[in-house]
């Protein structure tokens, strides 16, 4: 194993673990539910997931028409599948399958 890969993994992995663990030790869960920090944190989850979704989609939006088209099909499939079954896994797999099917059929 190359040393630079191990070094990179240890730096990124070690710091990521600290980001995830240290805040648990700071008793931030004791805050009042209607407090500023509580409202800030309540909005963080949806904001983080929305951010990651948009960040994942942006390269596809700037890609070829074919990629844009199948990404659109995938998004539509996720929304429809979730509306139907209210299942994260079903919606995820439906989106990926729809995107793959659109590519296979050469719809764009």
């Amino acid at each position: 194993m190359r040393f630079d890969v191990l070094e990179l993994a240890l730096i990124a992995g070690g710091l990521t673990y600290l980001w995830r663990y240290v805040p648990l030790r700071l008793s931030l869960g004791d805050m009042p539910k209607d407090g500023i920090l509580a409202r800030f944190l309540a909005a963080t989850g949806p904001a983080a997931i929305a951010t990651l979704f948009v960040a994942e989609m942006l390269p596809m939006v700037h890609d070829t028409q074919a990629v844009q088209g199948r990404a659109g099909v995938g998004v539509l499939a996720v929304i429809l599948a979730f509306a139907w079954r209210k299942s994260v896994v079903f919606a995820t797999l439906a989106g990926a399958c729809a995107c793959g099917a659109a590519a296979a059929l050469g719809l764009w």
Partner: protein
């Protein structure tokens, strides 16, 4: 005891979507890693030590570009800085059931998807427990490692003959994020979501992808400061 068994069962039920979603994404990571010149063991080591999907894909690009290791490592760590807010958010939602005795363990596996799944389960009435978090986190971790091994073993050219499968796998991560977002969507969160999306686009366009991630998360969370007081669910 019965409560722990119930939490364990709930954890198993909640982790199944993550396992099914993580395996193919990790498979495509293994393929991409070996395609870029990493050995299967190196790809596996990244998954074993880092366990952060988007950061691992970025790690491949940074290694391939020859970026200095310290700079690359700190870039990846900065990208994951958003995870600072996940534990406290879950504990705040946990209310009287919050516990951190085993936090050193389940915090390791507190990825975006695990956080989203835990939040979604709690929004549907699941009581917070450390057993639930350990099963959820390490079930996802096992799937991530297994998928990486399978992808690395298949090799860099595994999907060349199957472009449609590759296209589907490429869409797996955004599909998972969108599904997670839909699962926790409430009317109260819409302003934060819209602000996060807008800030991500602007940050990415006028800065970089990493700046876009930070801008989106911080802007969206800041909207929470000016929103209505917590209390209801206002489901969409």
């Amino acid at each position: 005891m019965a409560q722990e068994r119930s939490s364990g069962l709930a954890g198993v039920q909640a982790v199944i979507p993550l396992v099914l979603g993580y395996f193919p994404i990790a498979f495509s990571f293994g393929v991409a890693a070996t395609r870029s010149g990493l050995s299967p063991f190196e790809a596996f080591s990244l998954s074993l030590i880092v366990f952060a999907g988007a950061a691992q894909f970025l790690a491949i690009a940074l290694l391939a570009s020859g970026a200095p290791v310290l700079v690359a490592g700190l870039t990846l760590a900065a990208m994951n800085l958003r995870h600072v807010l996940y534990g406290p958010t879950l504990l705040q939602r946990a209310g009287d059931h919050r516990a951190t005795r085993w936090g050193w363990l389940w915090a390791f596996a507190l990825t975006d998807e695990v956080f989203g799944a835990a939040l979604g389960a709690m929004a549907k009435g699941q009581r917070f427990s450390e057993t639930f978090m350990v099963i959820l986190g390490f079930g996802a971790y096992a799937a991530w490692l297994a998928g990486t091994v399978a992808g690395a073993w298949a090799g860099g050219g595994a999907l060349d003959a199957w472009p449609a499968v590759g296209a589907g796998l490429d869409f797996m991560l955004p599909a998972l994020f969108l599904a997670l977002l839909l699962s926790i969507l409430t009317a109260r969160q819409v302003p934060a979501i819209v602000m996060a999306a807008a800030a991500t686009v602007l940050g990415t366009w006028y800065g970089s992808a990493t700046l876009g991630l930070f801008a989106g998360m911080i802007a969206g969370a800041l909207v929470g400061l000016f929103g209505r007081k917590a209390g209801g669910t206002d489901a969409v």
